[in-house]
């Protein structure tokens, strides 16, 4: 069944700015990625000690999802199996892979090793929110809105999911960019139609 789908919330973290639904919420002062991510955590007064254990990719994805979902996501509307995650990025877990590889010459670090897969980021988001639906992470050179649209439409049109978080979360050393969208079947207050053009415009403008 084809159904209408809406972007009911969006959040981007890019170029030192955290933005939600088109409004800038926070501007960081740190040029270092780790310090910037920590400043976001502190600014939004988040309380999740596991954050400190995560690699930068998981931190970036997790922070974006926290801000995306805050106030705009109603967990009681869905069963855990009805919410899924479809993400893409260009650098997989390379940011952490490089740090892990550097640790190998001394004592290989177990805490770096367990983040040497990009889909661990999805695990962190799902564990936090008790999401148990389908999920996938694709490694692609550039953000491909067409591709994401196809994937998410398939999951929602076939009733495999009722809501889906989708987008792009990429980090490699000083470069990072995250855009997450909450896609639902019910039109919310600030909802945009879920389309590749709307995805591209949010991605490009942030």
């Amino acid at each position: 069944m084809l159904s209408e789908k809406y972007i009911t919330s969006s959040c981007t973290i890019s170029k030192g700015i955290v933005s939600k639904n088109g409004s800038n919420l926070f501007e960081g002062q740190d040029s270092d990625t780790s310090a910037f991510l920590l400043s976001i955590y502190q600014h939004f007064k988040l309380n999740y000690p596991k954050f400190y254990k995560m690699d930068n990719l998981s931190k970036l994805g997790w922070l974006t999802s926290e801000i995306l979902l805050k106030d705009d996501f109603k967990p009681h509307l869905y069963q855990p199996e009805q919410v899924g995650v479809v993400l893409a990025n260009a650098n997989s877990s390379l940011d952490d892979d490089i740090k892990y590889y550097a640790s190998v010459s001394d004592v290989p670090s177990p805490s770096l090793f367990v983040y040497t897969l990009p889909n661990i980021m999805i695990g962190e988001i799902c564990i936090r929110n008790n999401f148990k639906g389908e999920h996938a992470l694709f490694v692609q050179e550039k953000f491909d809105a067409d591709f994401i649209e196809t994937q998410v439409n398939y999951l929602l049109d076939n009733d495999l999911l009722e809501a889906c978080i989708c987008g792009w979360v990429d980090v490699l050393e000083h470069d990072y960019k995250a855009m997450l969208l909450l896609v639902e079947k019910e039109k919310g207050e600030q909802a945009l139609p879920f389309s590749k053009d709307n995805m591209n415009s949010i991605f490009i403008n942030n």
């Binding site: 290989p108 670090s109 177990p110 090793f113 367990v114 983040y115 897969l117 661990i120 695990g123 799902c126 564990i127 148990k132």
Partner: protein, 399 residues
Amino acid sequence: MSSTAYIAGVGVISAIGNNVPEHLAAFEREEASMGEITMLDTIYHGKIPVAEVKLKNNELANMTGMPPDISRTTLLSLVAAQEALTDAGIPDLNKLRTGFVSANTVGGMDKSEDFFIDFIKDNSKGKLKNVYDHECGSVTEIVAEKLGLKDYMTTISTACSSSANAIFYGARLIKNDVLDVVVAGGTDALTKFTLNGFNTLMILDPEFCKPFDEHRQGLNLGEGAGYVVLVSDKVAKTLNKAPYCKLSGYNNSNDAYHQTASSPDGTGSYLAMKGALEKSGLRPSDIDYINLHGTGTPNNDSAEGTAITRVFDPKYPPVSSTKSFTGHTLGASGGVEAVFSVLAIKNGLIYPNLRFEIRMTELPFQPETKFRKGQNITHVMSNSFGFGGNCTSLIFSKI
């Protein structure tokens, strides 16, 4: 619809034997198989014990009629799957709908490691043939073709619960009348990739492992393959010998707690055991033996032990970890231990948990330490718990 998935044949290869009779003999001798690394070129020679299959690749190739330069994962798979299929002796197999559901986690990584040594020095070097079968599914395809299992094949890779999941997926294909015969289980060869990975996690025991012991220090890596042949009601009636048992219960549940560790209270393993019991319609007190996941890591044995306490207290069946013989064969372990579970029912066996000395302080039960035969074993539970909290329990029952 077939109401039941029967086990009509079994096959296994591991460090303690190259076939079923050799395994039974090793269990009776209470003889473990760990030793120094001989097959891998690694800096951990003499430092980390492993449980290697005692045949070199060319010997495995001779046994199977395959070329010696293919992945050891494939060679091990073919030996055990062939034994299982021969054991089942299904009449007119080629007229039935047949499938191969095979699990592994390393695929052709052993060959890719050979490729990389030359390639990393000069990216115009390295034999591409060595990476051609890198992907896990390649192992399954080669073996399915060789065995003539033509109608359906798939590969399952869910870490250490892989082949337990393959077996119950195979049973579901039979119960839903998709196939008549499924060879299901898994295979994994030792590789530098797994040795280094587990070593990084600091969960390898520098001595021989001691599952469920208070002073356990970690696991020993092993290698091998184990398969069962699952058949429908209709096929079971045509067999020349009675099926060994049936797969009466199964469940897969997830911890969603940590990338590699189990949750301390064993939530995933508790749900898997409880779900498998519900599926089979059995009570905890009906289980006559549990083949533990029992890796020997502090985390697994503590979480699994806690979960068993939650399910079985106050009456505990005999339990043991056969990984004290075979090492942890990773993606193959669910298949290898399913074969041991079937043999426990057929031959009335309880396997010993080698090197056990001191009961874990937090547990009110301890594993069996002596090989016992002539037991009346009707229902066996086999646990396989994987990284990411992917937990599976299977229950095999006498017919």
